[in-house]
C-alpha cells in the first residue's frame, strides 16, 4: 500500500473549545468550479458558519478516490464533506456522476467498517449558492458533533476494520467495477447493452462486502496466525464464509497456512519482502 497521502495534525494555534467539548475535525473537498466558488460567495456575502471544516480545493469532485477518503478516516478525521457541481453542470462534463458512484462505494465501506456513514456527506453546491454552503457546513458540523469523535485511535478493532475498508477500496476489482459502472449504465457494455442500475449495484455491493471481508482477514492475520473460527468470531461472519474467503486469498498467494499439529489450522498474511 502506498504511504498515506494525508494526515491530520492538530493545529496548535487553533482556538480550543471549552473544556470537555468535542470540536469535530472535518475535511471539506471542494471542486474548483462550483463548490469552491460557492464557498467564496458565501464569504463575500458574509454568511457565517462553524470553523471546523478545513477546505481542500480540487479541480473536480471526482478527484477524490474512495481510497483517499478512507485513508483520512483511518488517520482520525471526524467527518468529510465533498462538494461538487450540480449534476449536468460539471465543468468536466460528467465528473460528478462518477463522484456519485464512488461515494456510494465509500458509504458502503464505511458501513462495513463500523463508521457511521453520516460522517461522509456529498453536496452539490453551485458557484451561486453561497447561502447553501453555509447551511450545509453548519448542519454537517452539527451532525458530526452529535455523532461524537472518530474512535479509530482508541479502538483497535475499529482501526483494523477501517484499514480493511481502505485496502478493499484500493483493490483492482472494486476500482474497476466502480470505474466502469457509469459507462455500463449510460453508454452500454461491449455487447451494446445498457445494464440495469439496480442489478449492477447489487453486484457491486456483493463484491464490496467480499473485498472488505477479505481485506479484514488479511488485516487481522498480519501479526498473528488465526484460525477460521477465530476470524469468524472477531468478524461476526459465518465460518464457512470465512473459509471461502481464505480459499480465494490462498489462491492469490496472500495468505499461508501454518501446518498445524492439532486439528485447527491457522493462517497468516504473507507480507512481501525482498529487494525491489
Amino acid at each position: 500500500m502506498a504511504e498515506p497521502q494525508h494526515t491530520i495534525h492538530e493545529k496548535k494555534d487553533e482556538p480550543r473549545a471549552a473544556a470537555g467539548e468535542f470540536e469535530p475535525k472535518i475535511i471539506g473537498f471542494l471542486c474548483n468550479w462550483c463548490s469552491y466558488a460557492g464557498a467564496d460567495l458565501c464569504g463575500v456575502s458574509r454568511y457565517q458558519y462553524p470553523t471546523n471544516v478545513r477546505p481542500v480545493r480540487v479541480m473536480c469532485s471526482t478527484r477524490i478516490s474512495p481510497h483517499l477518503v478512507l485513508d483520512i478516516f483511518k488517520a482520525g478525521a471526524d467527518g468529510i464533506l465533498l462538494g461538487g457541481c450540480h449534476l449536468n453542470d460539471c465543468h468536466y462534463i460528467s465528473g460528478n456522476f462518477y463522484t456519485e458512484k464512488r461515494v456510494r462505494l465509500m458509504l458502503k465501506l464505511l458501513e462495513d467498517a463500523g463508521v457511521d456513514p453520516k460522517r461522509l456527506r456529498l453536496e452539490w453546491v453551485s458557484a451561486s449558492e453561497g447561502e447553501k454552503f453555509s447551511k450545509v457546513v453548519t448542519e454537517f458540523t452539527e451532525t458530526i458533533r452529535n455523532l461524537g469523535p472518530n474512535q479509530v485511535k482508541k479502538d483497535a478493532a475499529l482501526r483494523s476494520k477501517i484499514a480493511a475498508a481502505d485496502e478493499a477500496s484500493d483493490t483492482f476489482r472494486l476500482r474497476a467495477l466502480v470505474g466502469k459502472e457509469l459507462g455500463l449504465e449510460k453508454t452500454g457494455n461491449v455487447y451494446g447493452n445498457k445494464l440495469e442500475q439496480t442489478e449492477l449495484e447489487k453486484l457491486i455491493d456483493i463484491a464490496t462486502k467480499e473485498e472488505f471481508e477479505r481485506s479484514l482477514i488479511l488485516e487481522l492475520s498480519k501479526d498473528k496466525a488465526r484460525s477460521v473460527k477465530e476470524l469468524g468470531k472477531i468478524m461476526e461472519v459465518p465460518t464457512d464464509r470465512v473459509l471461502r474467503h481464505i480459499v480465494v486469498l490462498r489462491q492469490k498467494n496472500m495468505l499461508s497456512m501454518d501446518h498445524p499439529e492439532g486439528f485447527t489450522p491457522t493462517y497468516k498474511t504473507i507480507i512481501i519482502g525482498g529487494e525491489q
Binding site: 499461508s256 501454518d258 504473507i270 519482502g273 529487494e275
Partner: protein
C-alpha cells in the same frame, strides 16, 4: 510448525549482505519440472536463488553432475523426480534414490554437509510441494552458509 509460503528474503534486513546461495536443481521432465511449472502457473512465490536443469528422468543425474556442481561452487544441489511408482520410465526413480543416498555419504567425506544434497519427489500436481521444497532447501542452505569450496578450504 512450519510456515508454507513466507518468502525468506529478510536476510538483507540485518544489514550484513551475505552472498546469495547458489542452488542447482535437477528436475525430471515428466513430474518435477511439470510441478515447478504448476507452481509458476499458480503464482506460488519462492526464493530466486535456484537454477533448474531439466533432464528426462531423475535417473539420468549422473553422480558426476552432482560432484561437478559442488566443485564449481554450488552451495546446494536438489534432485527432484517423480514419486516412486509414478516414474514415466517405470522404475528410474528407484535407482535415483539409491544413488543419492550413496552420494550423500560421498560428499560428506569431501567435507560437505550431506544436507547440501537433497532428493525430493514432486509430482506434476504438486506445485505447492515444489514451492515448499525450494523454500525449505534455501533455508537449509542459508543456515549451512556458503559451500566449503567457496570459502576456499579446498
Amino acid at each position: 510448525m512450519s510456515s508454507e509460503a513466507q518468502p525468506q528474503t529478510t536476510a538483507h534486513a540485518t544489514g550484513v549482505k551475505e552472498p546469495d546461495p547458489k542452488i542447482l536443481v535437477f528436475c525430471c521432465n515428466w513430474c518435477s519440472y511439470a510441478g515447478a511449472d504448476l507452481a509458476g502457473v499458480s503464482r506460488l512465490q519462492m526464493p530466486p536463488y535456484f537454477r533448474t536443469i531439466r533432464v528426462m528422468c531423475s535417473a539420468r543425474v549422473d553422480p558426476e553432475f552432482v560432484l561437478r556442481a559442488f566443485q564449481r561452487g554450488a552451495d546446494g544441489v536438489l534432485v527432484a523426480g517423480c514419486h516412486p511408482a509414478d516414474c514415466h520410465y517405470i522404475g528410474g526413480n528407484y535407482r535415483t534414490r539409491r544413488r543419492i543416498a550413496l552420494l550423500k555419504m560421498l560428499i560428506q567425506q569431501f567435507g560437505f554437509d550431506p544436507d547440501r544434497l537433497r532428493l525430493e519427489w514432486v509430482s506434476a500436481g504438486e506445485g505447492e510441494k515444489f514451492q515448499k521444497t525450494i523454500i525449505e532447501f534455501t533455508n537449509t542452505i542459508k543456515e549451512l552458509g556458503p559451500s566449503p569450496m567457496a570459502r576456499g578450504d579446498e
